[in-house]
Every structure is written in C-alpha cells, then in structure tokens.
C-alpha cells in the first residue's frame, strides 16, 4: 500500500515536471497558412535559449516586430514566422533545417545567428532553393564557399578584426594575449586579428566550450605580462574567464568581439567585466534609422540590444518580397539577391557572394559599465 503510494507520487511528480517543462516551452510561433495574394511564411532559427541566447534574442524580437508591423499595416496579407530554437548548436540546427527545407510552405529563412549553425545548414537550404538572411553570423568564410543562397545583413569578422586591430594599435597596445574557444566563430576572428596584429601578439591559448576554470590560461597571461587580452568566443566562457583573471590580479584590458554582446556577460562575471571592451558590427540603438528604436522600446520595454536592428532588416527583406507578390522560393531568392534599399541598421545591398557592401558596415566599440553595455565610439575599419 505504502510502496505503491510512494511510487505513484514519484511518477506523478516526474510527469508534472515534464508537463510543466513542456508547457513552458515557447510554442514555436503560430501555425497558419498564408492568406491573400501577398502573404507567406518564413522561418527564423537561432539560439533563443542556451548559453549565449542574450546575443540573439534582440534579433528575434526585431524580426517579430517587423512582422507584427507588416501584419497590422496589411491586414489582408498575413505573414507568419515560425521560430526554431537551436540553442546555437549545429547538431540541433541541422534537423530543423531538413524540416524547414522539406515543408514547401516556408518561403524564406532568417538565420543563422551563429557561424557554426549557419555553416552546418547552408548546403541544406541551398539544395532546397531557400534564401537565408543571417542577422549575426559573421565568420568571414561563410560567404567564400560558393554558396548561392546565403546572405548576411552584417559585416564579417574580417572587417571586424581589422577594426579591432586598428583600435588596439591606436590604444598603443604592446603585448596582446589572444585566447579563443576553438569554435567556428571564435577561432576564425582570433586568427584574422592575429594576422593583422603580427608581432604585437605575445602569446596565445585555446580554451574549450563549457570550461569553467582557467588557472592555466591565467598563468600564461601573467607570464606574458600582457597589457591587452583579446578573447574570441561567447559569453558562457568569457564571463568566468574575465572574473577569474581579475580575481587573480591580472590588470590587462579585456577586449572581445560581438559574441560577448550579451547582458549575461557583465552579470555572469558579477563585476569582473567592468571596463571590458566589446566590438560589434551592430549599431547602438539610438543610431538606428526611422522609428525602430522607439518602436522596439515600446513593444518590449527594453532598448534593442545587439542585432535588434539587423533582425528587423532581415525580416523586412522578406516582407518587401511578399509585398511585391513574390510567392515561390525561386522568386524570393532572386528578390533577395537584387535587394537594394535603405534598412534601419545600414544600406542593404548584397555583393555577388552575399556580403553587404563593406563600406556600409559600421563597427562600434562598447564598454561594460556596471551591468550595462554602453556605446563607446565608432571604430575605423582599417
């Protein structure tokens, strides 16, 4: 009697846990078919939860905002957008890509948000003739592989690394210690920067994803007497790294790329990240065009963070295509290719490889103050 009671209770508790967990999942966007002559359905994928979600959420919100505004302005022509949360993991993104490619109601894709997941899924979308517009996948070689359906509304890491190198030289950096997380993105941008800095690089180390203890790396930084530490990677590893560096008394300035533009970075480092510099090919909120910043603030009650404007622009491209009556994947792909309009983040026109015009790319340096990421200055590209 007692045994079965305990067992039943246990089973019920487990079941309840699972149900709650499932119930708390985002519903994955609304289902529904396109109506009228000008509607359509698009997919957006990226790390909406997970280690580095704070970097991606603004872009998702920006895209949602664009779709919402479009649907309000064009009640006859409903556009739907379905979300696919990859947690930034290429292994999760791939089955989603197959699902999206196989479902003919999807006419375009916004994503990926990270380089690794973009790289893994590009061939699948290309084979299906689906256009991909990436708001924040920045690794340089994504557009150098001959893929014909990948576009990005953001500058690449080559450009960003150039701007970081120019910045470090202008700051009179003498000994730069470079660390990366061996990821598609982190290793890529660090390597680009290393080429540009040349003899200023005093030593290097590679860490791994989900690492928590950095004693060996910190010993190397101390031994090198670095005055700048550059970390190529994401928030999850950067927050404990910078915190432990500071606790160990390392005074070197900490610089990282857009992967660290995430509110979880200063909060996760609880004070250790103070003064750290983050570079990002993303505009400060108040510099975005039109009423975007105000609309975003009104909708979500927070200012747009990293890539909010880029997510909005990516969605806008598809919305314009639908408005022009494009209804097939091939038409939409051709439309994206020849897109030529002012966006809220920058002027958007793609070159033959799918990059935006490098002269239109803007890169900003931000600085951590308390738990805020504040714009510091615009960086010169070279």
């Amino acid at each position: 009697m007692r045994r079965s009671y305990v067992r039943a209770l246990g089973t019920a508790a487990l079941a309840a846990t699972l149900v709650v967990a499932a119930g708390c999942q985002d519903s994955g966007g609304e289902e529904g078919t396109a109506s009228g002559d000008c509607g359509g359905k698009i997919a957006i994928f990226g790390a909406f939860t997970g280690d580095n979600a704070g970097l991606v959420i603004p872009s998702l919100n920006g895209a949602k905002l664009a779709v919402k505004q479009f649907n309000e302005a064009n009640p006859d022509c409903k556009v739907t957008m379905q979300e696919f949360d990859t947690q930034g993991d290429p292994a999760v993104a791939t089955p989603f890509a197959n699902q999206i490619a196989g479902d003919n109601s999807f006419l375009g894709v916004i994503g990926g948000h990270f380089s690794g997941e973009s790289d893994a899924t590009m061939p699948i979308y290309q084979a299906a003739g689906l256009a991909m517009v990436a708001p924040s996948a920045t690794r340089t070689d994504l557009t150098q592989k001959g893929n014909t359906s990948f576009f990005r509304v953001v500058g690449n890491d080559g450009t960003q690394a150039g701007a970081v190198a120019t910045y470090l030289k202008a700051q009179n950096a003498q000994k730069v210690f470079m660390i990366d997380d061996a990821s598609a993105y982190g290793a890529g941008i660090t390597e680009e920067l290393g080429k540009q800095l040349g003899p200023l690089v005093v030593n290097k180390d590679k860490i791994q994803e989900r690492q928590a203890q950095f004693d060996a790396t910190i010993s190397k930084i101390k031994a090198a007497q670095a005055d700048y530490v550059f970390y190529g990677g994401y928030t999850r590893e950067a927050a404990p790294l910078v915190k432990q560096m500071r606790a160990a008394g390392v005074q070197a300035k900490f610089v990282g790329p857009d992967g660290l533009y995430d509110p979880a970075f200063p909060e996760g480092a609880s004070g250790g990240a103070e003064g750290a510099i983050i570079t990002c090919p993303c505009l400060p909120a108040d510099k975005a065009g039109g009423t975007f910043a105000a609309d975003y603030q009104k909708e979500y009650n927070i200012p747009p963070g990293s890539y909010g404007a880029e997510g909005f622009d990516a969605a806008k491209i598809y919305l314009d295509a639908f408005k022009d009556g494009k209804k097939t994947r091939a038409d939409i792909l051709a439309y994206v290719k020849s897109y030529d309009k002012q966006g809220v983040s920058k002027y958007i026109k793609f070159d033959a490889k799918g990059d935006v015009d490098p002269t239109k790319v803007v890169i900003w340096a931000y600085q951590i103050k308390g738990t805020a990421i504040e714009p510091l200055q615009e960086l010169k590209l070279s």
Binding site: C24, A53, Q87, K206, Q208, A216, S219, A239, P263, G271
Partner: protein, 327 residues
C-alpha cells in the same frame, strides 16, 4: 609544448591543480559511496551538485549579499551557504533514491535500467533548472536568473589574495580554504564510515548485503544514508565552487560530474580515499596538460592518463571496495 613554463612554475601549477582537484574529489565521493554499496553509477549525482549551487545562489540573492562583504558577514554567508547547499543537495539525492531508484530495486530491475533512469533524471533536472525555474522564479530573483539556460553570476564573498609565497609559488586564501575545507569534509566522512555504528552498517551492506541483513542491519536505511552523505559532500563542493568561481548554470554539472566520476574510477571506485587521491591527481594532470599544450587539451590529457592508469591498475590507484576501505 611549453616544458620550460611547466618546469619553471611547477609548484604554482601543482597548487592550482590541487585546488581544482579538491572539488572533483568532493563530488567523486557521491559516486563512490553509491557504487560501493549498490554497484550503481548514479549519473544524476552531477545534478545533485548543480542543485546545491542554485541553492547557494538563491540564498545569497535573498540575503542581498554584495561583492566583498566584511569578514564577519562573509563567514556567516559561507556557513549559511554550506547549510543550505547541504540540505538542498542531500535532499535532492534522497529524493532521487526514494522516487526513482527504490521502486526499481523493489522490482529487481537489471542494472542497465538504473543507468538509463539516472541519465533521464539528470536531463529532467537540467531542464527543470534551465527552463521551468527561471519562469517560475524570474520575478523573485535577479533578471539574470530569468534567462533560460544562461549563466548566472554570484557575488564575490571573499576577495582572492595571495597569502604567502614559497619560491615562485603563490598560494591564495581561496585555494587554501578550498583545499582545507575539502580535506576536512573528507576526513569527517572517512571517520564516519570507519568509526561509527552507522558507518559499520554501511560497510557491512557494501561487503555482503544478505549477511548484513541477517545481522540486523536495515539495508534501506543504509542506502538512504549513503545517498544523503553523498549529497552533503556535493553540497559542500557546491559552496566551495560558488565561493571560488562565483557563477552557476543549469548545465554546470555535466562536465564536472564526468570529471568527478573519472576521479572516482581513477582512485578506485567504491573507495573513499581513492576518490580523494583520484580527484587531486586528476586536477594536477589537467593543469599540467593545459600548461604543456593549450587549455583545450586538458580533457584529452586527463582521459589519456585515466586509460594508462587503468591499463596497469584496472581497479584504480587504490583498488575498489568500500568494505575494505579501512586500510
């Protein structure tokens, strides 16, 4: 290869490795205790540790702890943290045993079923703390807690300072606290198992459950006891982790649990002193490996060493069996 760096600062790397390994060792005790008595690898033990870190996070948040409090308060926060983490982790371990493992044992389920159950429970806990709790507690706790699956920072309770320097080896207060606290907890556990009446029961069940039952040892009570003890050790590890690293995440347990399990196997699973030795040894090997190559090689080095050790000593450094751990 950076031999000069490794040799030049050998003492420093050894101290770093010891303080890293001490936390592995404390978690490893949970694996070793349960394995010693039940021959079961409780893969959900990593989540017992994770729950402990969240308990400390929530406690410090509710107390409004800020960075670098005065020393008196700091000690109070640490003691309270130890209590809360021990209760949370011990309670979680006990709940796992009562809800999941006991019904399986009553049905005489084969060992594989226990293993799969443990892995499943581990995933349930990871997502519970990654997705469900942030939604439920998002309003009460800081904004950082409301970001599903992301890292959450904790205040610095004790500022890291170099206490003394021997040659070119600097030993910090944090490292010393971690090492002393971990060794003290383990000595206490060792004493408990080897010197008390309850401990005798644990050893008896580990050696021969049937005979122990005939001699009047309550087997179920012993099993509950070892889960609670393992949980308390994980709770202590969670507090030391929170003090030293100051962050947590729902997935924090996975890698640490794997390392602690490795440490337990390395020292001889089922052997308490083996867990200590294995943990410290693993920590040192990792830091040496990271120094010699790059930091992303530390896991490779650690597992290569594990394989080599097991080739020559298949039962680990000190051999298995909790029952004979008196020696």
């Amino acid at each position: 290869m950076h031999f000069d760096e490794l040799i030049g600062h050998l003492g420093q790397h050894t101290v770093d490795g010891l303080s890293k390994g001490a936390i592995y060792a404390l978690i490893a005790l949970g694996y070793t205790l349960v394995y010693g008595v039940l021959r079961l690898i409780n893969f959900a033990h990593s989540e017992v540790f994770m729950v402990g870190t969240f308990a400390v996070l929530i406690l410090w948040n509710q107390l409004g702890v800020e960075n670098n409090p005065p020393i008196g308060q700091a000690i109070l926060f640490l003691v309270l943290g130890l209590l809360v983490a021990a209760v949370a982790s011990g309670g979680t371990a006990l709940a796992l045993e009562r809800i999941a493992y006991r019904p399986l044992r009553r049905k005489n389920a084969p060992p594989l079923i226990f293993l799969i159950t443990a892995i499943g429970l581990s995933l349930v806990f990871v997502e519970l703390f990654g997705q469900v709790l942030p939604k439920l507690l998002g309003g009460v706790l800081p904004a950082a807690f409301g970001r599903p699956r992301q890292i959450v920072g904790m205040p610095t309770i004790i500022e890291q300072k170099t206490l003394f320097t021997i040659g070119n080896t600097a030993i910090t207060n944090i490292q010393l606290i971690v090492l002393i606290a971990a060794v003290a907890m383990m000595a206490l556990l060792d004493w408990f198992i080897n010197r008390t009446r309850y401990g005798r029961g644990v050893r008896a069940v580990a050696q021969n459950p049937e005979t122990a039952a005939l001699m009047g040892v309550n087997q179920e009570r012993v099993i509950m006891l070892i889960f609670v003890l393992g949980g308390i050790m994980a709770g202590a590890a969670a507090l030391l982790w929170s003090m030293r690293f100051g962050f947590t995440q729902n997935s924090i347990g996975f890698v640490l649990g794997l390392k602690a399990f490795t440490a337990a196997v390395l020292g001889g699973i089922g052997n308490l002193r083996g867990a200590l030795l294995g943990g410290l040894f693993l920590g040192i090997v990792e830091v040496y490996g990271a120094t010699l190559f790059a930091s992303n090689w530390e896991d490779v080095i650690a597992f290569v060493v594990l394989i080599v050790v097991l080739m020559f000593r298949p039962t680990g450094l000190l051999g298995e069996s909790l029952g004979r751990a008196r020696a």
